[in-house]
């Protein structure tokens, strides 16, 4: 078994060399093959299994390879299997692969049936060997079948395949847009603990004292930076200062009030939109281009954009009606941003927590998402390479209800 050395901190960039542009590994997939993408985006291993004869299918198809049944629902499966052969691809037609070092691939027979060609983690060893097959999102945002060693190995996240299919904060520079909240502060701390090279912690309205900010002032690798996402000038100024260095942007800026349609006027609703929707738009306009341009800029390239949304973006909680509407608007814009950044390989990660344990949710009964738990969920999402995360029991339950019967959820939320 090859044991990769721990990834050393990347060397400083040669400022005279042209910055490598991001190439895409992907070609279009059929609609049915996007089932792999859906599973990978949520961090699951799923394949189609025939309702009639039970055969697990690979590659994804319209009719069962055994009995021709069209009833092929996607099922979560155990990816345990046997690596039966391996080789190394040294030459490829695709620019993406030509630019990269030799690429190990293998043939794996899954215990649940089919055999698949997979991208191999460097620690999988010589065939035959037991491996864990899973799905990852590649730089084109498409589902890619990968195999990991049967048991975790030291430094396994440093493997090129994992670095390429995830957005590990290790060695990367991170901007947390609002560090004045508990979520923002704990996010800064979680990124530092995850080995981020540096974290910029944004703050607006400097005259409002913040214990969280005061706490971060004592952290070595964190820098407080003025950033008010409601102010185009402030966003542009910070982008001018650090935009060319940010590898991961984490938008924690959130305006949360408890405001319903019955509240007179639109002042609060507008303030929510100013931060939660227009704030995202201003950030995307100011920071998006540099992120795209640096998406293949060495081992610690620009890699991801994280949005703090809400599970109520899917179904409105009328007691916080206008807040939810602003989150729904942000979700829609986040989809546009994902499409915009996809060609470069920058991943947009949307985080959909249930109610956060903050002062505006004071009277909501537990369980509520704790700030630290949410911060860890954000870091885990980047490390796991997923696109959509639903931290907390409430988010999980409401998501399940929404998928099952959105009309029923709508009625339940209005109670």
């Amino acid at each position: 078994m090859t044991m990769p050395a721990r990834l050393p901190p990347p060397k400083r960039k040669n400022p005279l060399a042209r910055t490598r542009l991001p190439a895409s590994p992907g070609q279009g997939r059929s609609r049915v093959a996007q089932g792999l993408t859906l599973a990978a985006a949520h961090g699951r291993f799923m394949l189609q299994r025939c309702e009639d004869c039970g055969t697990v299918q690979y590659p994804p198809r319209e009719a069962c390879a055994t009995c021709l049944s069209p009833r092929l629902p996607w099922r979560s499966l155990d990816g345990a299997g046997e690596l039966i052969a391996r080789t190394t691809i040294r030459y490829g037609q695709e620019i993406y692969f030509r630019e990269r070092p030799p690429f190990p691939v293998g043939l794996v027979r899954l215990d649940c049936g089919p055999s698949l060609v997979v991208a191999l983690h460097g620690d999988c060893g010589a065939a035959p060997a037991r491996v864990r097959v899973g799905l990852a999102l590649d730089k084109a945002g498409q589902g890619l079948v990968i195999a990991l060693p049967e048991k975790d190995t030291p430094n396994m996240a440093d493997d090129p395949l994992i670095r390429e299919t995830t957005s590990d904060p290790k060695f990367r520079k991170v901007l947390v847009t609002d560090a004045k909240t508990a979520v923002g502060r704990t996010a800064v701390e979680a990124f530092l603990a995850a080995g981020a090279d540096h974290v910029w912690a944004g703050f607006a309205e400097p005259w409002k004292p913040s214990a969280h900010l005061a706490h971060l002032q004592t952290q070595d690798k964190a820098t407080l930076v003025p950033l008010d996402v409601t102010d185009e000038g402030s966003v542009r100024e910070l982008a001018g200062r650090i935009g060319g260095k940010v590898d991961i942007l984490v938008n924690t800026a959130e305006f949360h009030r408890v405001s319903t349609i019955a509240r007179q006027g639109t002042e609060t609703a507008r303030a929510e939109m100013e931060v939660n929707y227009f704030g995202l738009l201003r950030l995307a306009q100011a920071f998006g281009p540099a992120l795209k341009a640096r998406a293949a800029d060495g081992e610690a390239s620009a890699t991801a954009w994280v949005n703090l949304l809400s599970v109520y973006a899917f179904a409105n909680l009328p007691a916080q009606g206008t807040f939810c509407a602003s989150k729904a608007a942000a979700l829609s814009l986040a989809q546009a941003l994902r499409a915009e950044l996809q060609p470069s390989g920058i991943r947009v990660v949307n985080v959909f927590p249930g109610p956060i344990d903050d002062e505006w949710n004071q009277l909501l009964p537990p369980p509520k998402v704790a700030a630290a738990g949410l911060a860890n969920a954000i870091v885990d999402a980047l490390r796991d390479g997923v696109e959509d995360v639903y931290p907390g029991d409430v988010a999980q339950e409401w998501l399940a209800r929404w998928r099952d019967n959105p009309k029923a959820l709508e009625r339940e939320l209005s109670l």
């Binding site: 309205e205 000038g233 002042e267």
Partner: protein, 260 residues
């Protein structure tokens, strides 16, 4: 020569100096902050419409937004509940001659430097009058604290701690005295608010708003450059935007003074 002709002559000859008492409107300038569950005045924000580009090839212009009480601004009597039923109490209905008046500058800068919560008293005002003469009727009474010199530092300018804001202002009796016995036009300060930062604990809360607007008088706040004015002798021009039923407005405040 008519008064106005001689005025223009003196102005052109540089014998009348125009002092700008206005802070620059910018997104960074601190805005008033109420408890977060209450409605909030918008801060000043500005975004480009076009700048000689594909959005408008030969012209540059911006959209801006803000609340009526943003930056250097005017308070009309209708702003406060005590002035809500007075005639001519809004920015569009105040007779325009009332936007111009003699300026009396009460220099409390030493006191404010020593105590951010300094309250201007009747005794203090009478002491000022001994030196500079009685405050004439229909005067703009401007409380100089040099607080505007903190405006480059929003934290020091707002001066919040866990008990709220700490900025100087008048006490209750001083307000009643200026309204009842000196018949002033309005009261101006350099901080955010004509009242002191801790004025919610005075009786009544926010006495300058309560009595000043209750008597149909005006307020000016976030003024600057008061240190360039003489104690008496300047003329202050403070005309708000003509907003229908407006409770106030950002404005340009000018002081005219004779050069020595």
């Amino acid at each position: 020569m008519s008064v106005l002709n001689s005025f223009i002559g003196e102005l052109t000859a540089g014998k009348i100096r125009v002092v700008d008492l206005t802070q620059t409107l910018s997104p960074e300038f601190p805005q008033i902050s109420l408890p977060p569950e209450m409605g909030q005045a918008w801060p000043f924000r500005i975004e480009e419409v076009s700048r000689y580009d594909e959005r408008g090839p030969a012209w540059y212009w911006n959209n801006f937004s803000c609340g009526e009480h943003t930056g250097t601004h005017f308070d009309a009597p209708i702003h406060w509940v005590s002035g809500k039923d007075l005639p001519n109490n809004a920015t569009d209905s105040i007779p325009p001659q009332r936007f111009i008046g003699p300026g009396c500058v009460l220099d409390c800068s030493r006191e404010a430097a020593a105590d951010a919560d300094f309250l201007l008293t009747v005794k203090w005002i009478k002491g000022w009058e001994k030196k500079h003469g009685r405050i004439p009727p229909r005067a703009w009474v401007l409380m100089r604290t040099d607080w505007s010199k903190r405006s480059a530092d929003p934290v020091g300018y707002q001066n919040y701690d866990e008990t709220g804001q700490h900025t100087p202002g008048p006490d209750t009796d001083a307000v009643k005295f200026l309204v009842g016995e000196r018949d002033l036009l309005g009261f101006g300060t350099e901080s955010i608010g004509t009242d002191a930062g801790q004025a919610q604990h005075l009786r009544p809360p926010y006495p300058c708003h309560y009595y000043m607007h209750g008597a149909g008088r005006y307020g000016l706040q976030c003024l600057t450059s008061l240190d360039q004015l003489p104690p008496t002798g300047a003329v202050v021009v403070a005309a708000p935007l003509k907003i229908r039923n407006g409770s106030g407005s950002p404005l340009r405040v000018l002081a005219l003074m004779e050069s020595k």
